[in-house]
Each structure stands twice: as C-alpha cells, then as structure tokens.
C-alpha cells in the first residue's frame, strides 16, 4: 500500500486530501502513477501535468522519476510560500 497526499490549492482543486492505494492498484513508477492519477478527471490532469507541481517521496522532495515501494508516502503540492 502507498499513501498519496495533496496539500494547499491542490487538495482543494481535487477535493482530496489523501488516497490509500493497495498493491496492484498503483503503478510502481512515479511518472506512471502521475499518468494514472491524471486520468481521474480534468482537475487531476491539470495538477499532475503541471510544471509547477512538486513531489515529495517520504517527505523528501524529488525531481527524479523513482520506483515506489509499499509503505511509501507520496505527496503532491504547489510551490511553497512560507516565511
């Protein structure tokens, strides 16, 4: 199982805070997971295909395509604006 989280404007756009995907329900490559989620609808496509979208795997930001393992926490969020 992997946990997929959405923050800030993405959470609101998708009306989704968290997904739990069981073994076999998700692609094991990040890029494929994004394509898979993009098929859930127009708002999902926008979020997943945007160049602005940031990804963190197990709370570490990554710009690379990575293999997902069971237990991973994958988070999608817009550019940060703290401070």
């Amino acid at each position: 199982m992997i946990k997929v989280l959405f923050f800030a404007s993405f959470r609101e756009q998708l009306n989704c805070e968290q997904l739990s995907l069981e073994e076999g329900e998700y692609s094991t490559l990040l890029s494929e997971l994004k394509s898979q989620l993009a098929e859930k609808g127009e708002a999902w496509r926008e979020v997943m295909m945007s160049d602005r979208t940031l990804v963190a795997i197990n709370q570490n930001m990554t710009r690379k395509d990575v293999t997902l393992n069971s237990g991973d926490e994958v988070a999608f969020f817009p550019p940060v604006t703290g401070g």
Partner: protein
Amino acid sequence: MRALISIQVEDFNLGHEYERLEGNKSSGAIVTFTGTVRDMNLGDEVGGLFLEHYPGMTEKALQEIIDEAMERWELQVVRVIHRIGQMHPGDRIVFVGVVSAHRKEAFAACEFIMDYLKTRAPFWKKETTPEGDRWVDERESDQEAADRWL
C-alpha cells in the same frame, strides 16, 4: 551547535527568544529576523492569512536547511520558529535567530536560512481579501534569492 525548531500556532515572545540565544561567552554575534504579515499584497487589501504546512516534512526540511547552513558557516545556535494557522496583518509569522562568533557569518546564515525556508520548506499561505480567499503564488524573486547560494 544547537538547532531549535518550532512549528506552532501560538505567537512567540521576542524578548524570551533573544534571551535563549544569549549566554555563550564565545559568541560574538546574534542576528535575528522576524517576518510579519503585511496588510497588502498584489494591490489588494489582506484581512487575514491562513498558513498550512506538511506535518513531519516541515520539521525535516527546516533541519536540512539548518544542517546546510552549519556546513557553510561556523554557527553556535540556530533558532527557527514558524507559525501556522490563522493570522492577521501585523502578526509575527516567522523568526530566525543565529548565534556565531562573527557578525558576517551570523548575517549570512540568517539570510540563507530565510531564502531556503521560503523556497524549500512546505508551507503555503492563503490570503483573505475583499475579493475572496486566494492561495498565494510563489515569487520569482524568492527563487532568485535562493539560487544565489548555489
């Protein structure tokens, strides 16, 4: 070297925070920065600000930023406080305090930590304006400020 990180809803007391940074006889410099909520952004009146974060990752990201600052400069204490939740114009939102033997190191590290915090720590601002609520967009100038350190 001590790194003290707090993510909190409550306000903080500058006098108290300053006193926590004092007391090391080998320190020659204490630099602090306090960020506050502005009442204007992009020409609109801002009535309030809601700050969201990614619990767990926020602390980790701030620790990594402080670790990187420690690799670059000789630092004795670093204190970072970031508030979350509902705030209003004039409220304190962020605090960075850096203690070092030398002034230049303390100034540089404080600026570095703020520049990286603004581009790497998972916080998001939502403003309340007369036209409704809106998520704040990232600024190119913040990214450029962070890129200076690369």
